[in-house]
């Protein structure tokens, strides 16, 4: 710069050199990337930009929505009757269980009181529908049509009619981002229904999940049901999570390789429910307090809760 004795006249001005601009913006991008991926510190910026993109997103979804609404309108009355009959049959099948539920709950509460155990929390929720799936090929996320304005908060578990589908990881003013169970390294503390053994499932990022850290001789069979254990204090206990589909025991490794698939229709669109479940717990487990600075207020990946849940 100092080599130039005189500046060019203003009508030839082209701004700073393109390479300098490139380096500035590339460095800014990388800085944002690191801040976002490593420290999850850019929620506010994301929320700000989402105010611009959200209406566009909704507009872009509307053709699909219109098409599906139109299809609904032109469904024949026969199909509706069929649907109605199926629902009635399903309700009838569930009726005995429902009738016994009240009695069982009373009995359970009574037994728990006798055993001096804490009573189970009742769970309520808020229905929402999935707007669209994220286009990002590296992650498994969907967006709900409700957000901060409707009272959704970060960390809420999200279920559909068959089981857990994921957790709210980011709340925007009018929408919310749900990280699915199948997202890479998304952890859920579970319990094997048949044996009562506790473990943690981790998403693999390809539509499957895996039970990690189970010894080779662990009592796990293909077809075992996994339900949430509730040890983490985020997911309420007893919700179906997944079914074991494959167990590989190789004595060369310390752990068995156990693949599970989610019970809920995790990667399809539909209605879901965000649960308001917040038991009275300490904000952090005691051993996590000393390195509290590293953790976000709501642990996103929740490997720490996972490790604590592992027997």
């Amino acid at each position: 710069m100092s080599a130039l004795e005189q500046t060019p006249p203003p009508f030839f001005r082209r701004g700073p050199a393109p390479l300098a601009v490139l380096i500035f913006y590339a460095a800014l991008s990388v800085a944002l990337f690191v801040l976002d991926m490593r420290f999850h510190a850019l929620g506010l910026l994301r929320q700000g930009i989402s105010i611009v993109t959200d209406p566009l997103q909704r507009m872009a979804q509307s053709p699909l929505r219109l098409a599906s609404d139109g299809m609904d309108y032109f469904r024949t009355i026969n199909a509706l009757r069929e649907d109605n009959r199926a629902h009635q049959a399903a309700r009838l099948r569930a009726a005995p269980d429902l009738a016994r539920l009240a009695q069982l709950e009373a009995e359970n509460a009574h037994l728990r009181r006798l055993l001096a155990l804490r009573e189970r929390d009742r769970v309520s929720g808020q229905a929402a529908s999935i707007l669209y799936a994220a286009r990002d090929p590296f992650s498994r996320r969907v967006y709900l049509d409700k957000g901060m304005q409707h009272g959704l908060r970060q960390g809420q578990p999200v279920i559909d009619d068959a089981g857990i589908i994921g957790q709210v990881t980011q709340v925007f003013p009018f929408s919310a981002e749900v990280t699915l169970l199948t997202d890479k390294d998304q952890a859920v503390p579970v319990q094997i229904l048949r044996t009562g053994q506790r473990s943690v499932t981790f998403g693999l990022g390809n539509g499957q999940m895996e039970l990690r850290h189970m010894p080779v001789n662990a009592d796990v069979e293909v077809g075992d049901e996994l339900v949430t254990s509730g040890l983490d204090g985020i997911y309420p206990s007893g919700f179906p999570v997944a079914t074991v589909t494959q167990v590989e025991r190789d004595s060369a490794y310390a752990f068995a390789r156990i693949l599970v698939v989610p019970r809920a229709a995790v990667e399809s669109h539909g209605m879901v429910m965000a649960l308001d479940y917040r038991p009275d717990m300490e904000p952090r487990p005691p051993e996590a307090k000393e390195n509290a600075g590293q953790n976000a207020p709501v642990p996103r990946r929740r490997t720490r809760a996972g490790r604590a849940a592992n027997p």
Partner: protein, 173 residues
């Protein structure tokens, strides 16, 4: 502005509002629920490449950066992932524009193909560095399709600059 040997006509300058509208339209096309189709091109990348080649004086790198951020938020990607790729694309396209624009549209699409591959590769590389899994070679189908679409898209975007100087009521376009 850029008269290539094939075109003897001098183009009219691009209108800023047309650039803006074409970019918004590209963004809208990107947000359509077409995630399942691997062959869907990144429309923003196409439009951005075109304008950074033709009009890098008006369409600066800051626009590429902000569009990248918007795409990041809209896609649920990591912030800065698209921004970095688009900024690099803008630089490459603007600095190669003198050479690429000498060719007819058909050969231009061969020249932009490596740029589009680069955009995908940069995004995959930065995510791999951050610890994600490799999403598969299927991701490279979409830049290929984008390069094939270069000819029609570039033709559409350049068309308004071919307008004749004085309006002729008997002329169809």
């Amino acid at each position: 502005m850029n008269a290539s040997p094939q075109t003897v006509r001098i183009l009219r300058p691009a209108r800023p509002w047309f650039i803006l509208i074409s970019l918004l339209l590209a963004l809208f096309l990107n947000l359509l629920p077409t995630r399942q189709w691997v062959f869907m091109p990144d429309w923003v990348m196409l439009a951005l490449c075109f304008w950074s080649m033709r009009e890098w004086r008006i369409f600066g790198m800051g626009y590429a950066f902000s569009l990248g951020l918007v795409m990041d938020v809209a896609n649920g990607a990591a912030l800065g992932q698209h921004a970095l790729a688009y900024v690099l694309l803008h630089y490459a396209a603007a600095s190669l524009s003198r050479r690429i624009l000498q060719f007819p549209l058909k050969q231009q699409s061969l020249h932009v193909l490596p740029l589009f591959f680069g955009v995908t590769a940069v995004q995959i590389l930065i995510r791999l560095v951050a610890g994600s899994d490799f999403p598969g070679w299927r991701e490279f189908i979409s830049p290929l399709v984008a390069a094939l679409l270069w000819m029609p898209v570039a033709f559409l975007l350049i068309a308004p600059q071919y307008r004749p100087d004085e309006r002729d009521d008997n002329r169809p376009i």
